[in-house]
Subunit: 385 residues, 2 copies
């Protein structure tokens, strides 16, 4: 196990009707709140009106930034920074999924930087202390509700890049399973892929003795795999929604990743795909991950054997063979939920593979299990076709 | 799953040589530090000198409170409060195990209360904001390094009682596996029992749908059970020490307990035993828990079957029968490590059972799986003989 620092100060408020606490929690951080939202689905389910009412009840002054899209754009971040500066906003309140939260984080980060916010993503400039962020989560997937990371896309440069800072942890995140019930089934399932993929990035690495972290990771995988089919059958089941919601947060709040090397190549590859084709992040990950796994299994066959044995209950002596069966089980699992695991199935052919491979390795080789250069990524993308 | 709030802001600094950060971390909270220590074992291993040097390097003004005993006493807490008040201490630094940390927490709690600190334990008076606490942990067991709980004994009244408050979370805890290597084997093993017992208190309850929390709990149990025999064979193995250390923290930092009813009767029974006989807490728990389990298994046979199947790999159809085998496995495990699981084996006979049962239920029935009254506790204690 490597040395690590674990410091996750986000306050999680979990459970049905926990949304009711949004007014009082927000008020702890000031008078002027910028409400950041997506493309209107929260209005359809009545959540928008509910949140606005609760904020008004606490006499908060509400400003708004709406229209955040999946693969959120830096243009809207710039707009948000302008609103916050002009109106001296005290706190950002993100009501939505990962895209909305990440937009809030990027606004917060950009606010205390003098140049253009996109510099923070391309030049890896350290982020300074900034204004607080609150969250009302509407989708189980991102993990952004309990970490300091944000991923933003720049359509001008066709880049999708991440920032990370201790100053970007939300002060509070409200996780009310009721707010996730109306998410359409396909996006619920992409969220589930996202959750599993976050686990994979941390679980499949070369660290040998982070035993508890790996058992925790298996706990999340088993819980998700057991619960997802129930949810697919009955998308309105609040208990299943609650279980998946809590899995999503724990998949990326640090507890399964501390002391581990981790990998994260598959996310870089997926970001290159969705920067070019604007597909849902979870869908891209369902396609990339199984093929990445097959490309690197020879380096850590024992880890893949653990995955096969402890998550899927596969028996057998040979780590490599058992591990391969585990990967096949994962593919079967995704396909059984109707999630495609090949690019050709979503209309992407081999035309721009070169460009994607270039983009994914723009800052140098990616990943740790194998250091992947452009040629490696190209091969993995070919396998994905 | 029940609604919950999870907010654990303690900064964990984990790994070999992380002790070197104690000076800089402490300095973040002021100039005057009260160094709280136990009965001298940290002097033998050189940790005392090291910490003092590091504090002096940051020009901190050091005051001292030493001599904290296992089952820490309220008298020393009172002495600590006096020192802090007289010298306007800025931060408490606990260097030791659970007893030392809990003494620091009780001092912090008593400081902002006008009456005698013991009132906070007996009258359940809410604790007010107070001065910060830092920790250098020397024993894997308590979990106190990452929660807001403290347990203190009063020898005048022969009581052992707990307090809990959001204001008592340590600001930082340094978990350096090297600091745990010199702990004698028997106390290392009692620490391991303590860790498992914390898991049991949260795992064995009536909450049906906290699936992830239960898989997390099983992850800790499996990791401890796999690692403990290695550690017993080679007490100087730093990797095993590190794994157990991180298990201890996660067993009581909230992640396996949130959204669950939990039980905690066994701890109350053990506290009654060690208030009268001053035995190590872990030893008492190794005796109480298996017998409590047998007393309550009929209420939640499915939970005991999960324990048997997922932790011990026991197969079988009937939950009750499989569950009983799991309890027997636990007894075998403790005995294989040389830990006694009966009172008579440590020289305690039936003379004061009545008194213990009375003490354990002083504030009313205990536990949740079964609400245990005095007669129930007496029966469990008889089973423990």
């Amino acid at each position: 196990m490597r040395n690590f620092v674990f410091h996750n100060p986000t306050k999680i408020i979990f459970g049905n009707d926990s949304t009711n606490k949004v007014g009082k929690e927000t008020k702890n951080y000031g008078k002027k709140v910028l409400l950041i939202t997506g493309q209107g689905s929260i209005k359809k389910i009545g959540l928008y009106d509910k949140v606005v009412d609760l904020l008004k009840k606490e006499e908060l002054e509400i400003y708004e930034l709406s229209g955040v899209k999946p693969n959120p754009r830096v243009d809207l971040v710039r707009e948000g920074i302008k609103i916050v500066r002009e109106n001296k906003i005290d706190i950002l309140l993100a009501v939505g999924g990962g895209s909305v939260i990440d937009t809030a984080k990027a606004i917060a980060a950009g606010l205390t930087y003098e140049g253009d916010v996109w510099d923070l993503f391309t030049k890896r400039i350290p982020i300074k202390p900034t204004i607080p962020i609150g969250v009302v989560l509407t989708l189980a997937a991102t993990g952004s509700e309990m970490n300091g990371n944000a991923v933003i896309s720049n359509m001008d440069t066709q880049e999708k890049l991440a920032i990370s800072s201790p100053y970007l942890y939300p002060k509070f995140s409200i996780l009310d399973p009721q707010n996730t019930v109306s998410v359409p089934l396909n996006h619920t399932l992409y969220g589930i892929v996202d959750i599993l993929s976050h686990v994979f990035e941390q679980y499949f690495d070369r660290t040998e003795d982070a035993i508890l972290q790996d058992r925790f990771a298996e706990a999340i995988m088993r819980t998700v795999i057991e619960t997802a089919p129930k949810l697919a059958q009955n998308p309105e089941d609040l208990e299943s929604r609650a279980i998946i919601l809590w899995c999503g947060t724990n998949a990326l709040n640090g507890i399964i990743g501390v002391g581990k090397e981790q990998d994260w190549a598959s996310h870089a590859i997926e970001h290159a795909i969705s920067a070019l084709y604007d597909i849902p992040h979870g869908l891209g990950l369902a396609i990339v991950f199984p093929h990445w796994m097959k490309y690197v299994i020879d380096v850590i066959p024992n880890k893949f054997a653990n995955f096969a044995r402890n998550v899927w209950g596969i028996q057998g002596e040979d780590d490599f063979e058992v591990g391969l069966k585990g990967i096949d089980k994962l593919i079967d699992f995704y396909e059984s939920l109707g999630i495609p695991t090949n690019l050709s199935r979503i209309g992407i052919n081999n035309e721009r593979l070169e460009e994607m491979a270039e983009k994914a390795t723009k800052f140098g080789p990616i990943g740790n299990v194998k250091k992947l250069n452009k040629e490696d990524v190209y091969k993995i993308l070919e396998m994905c076709l």
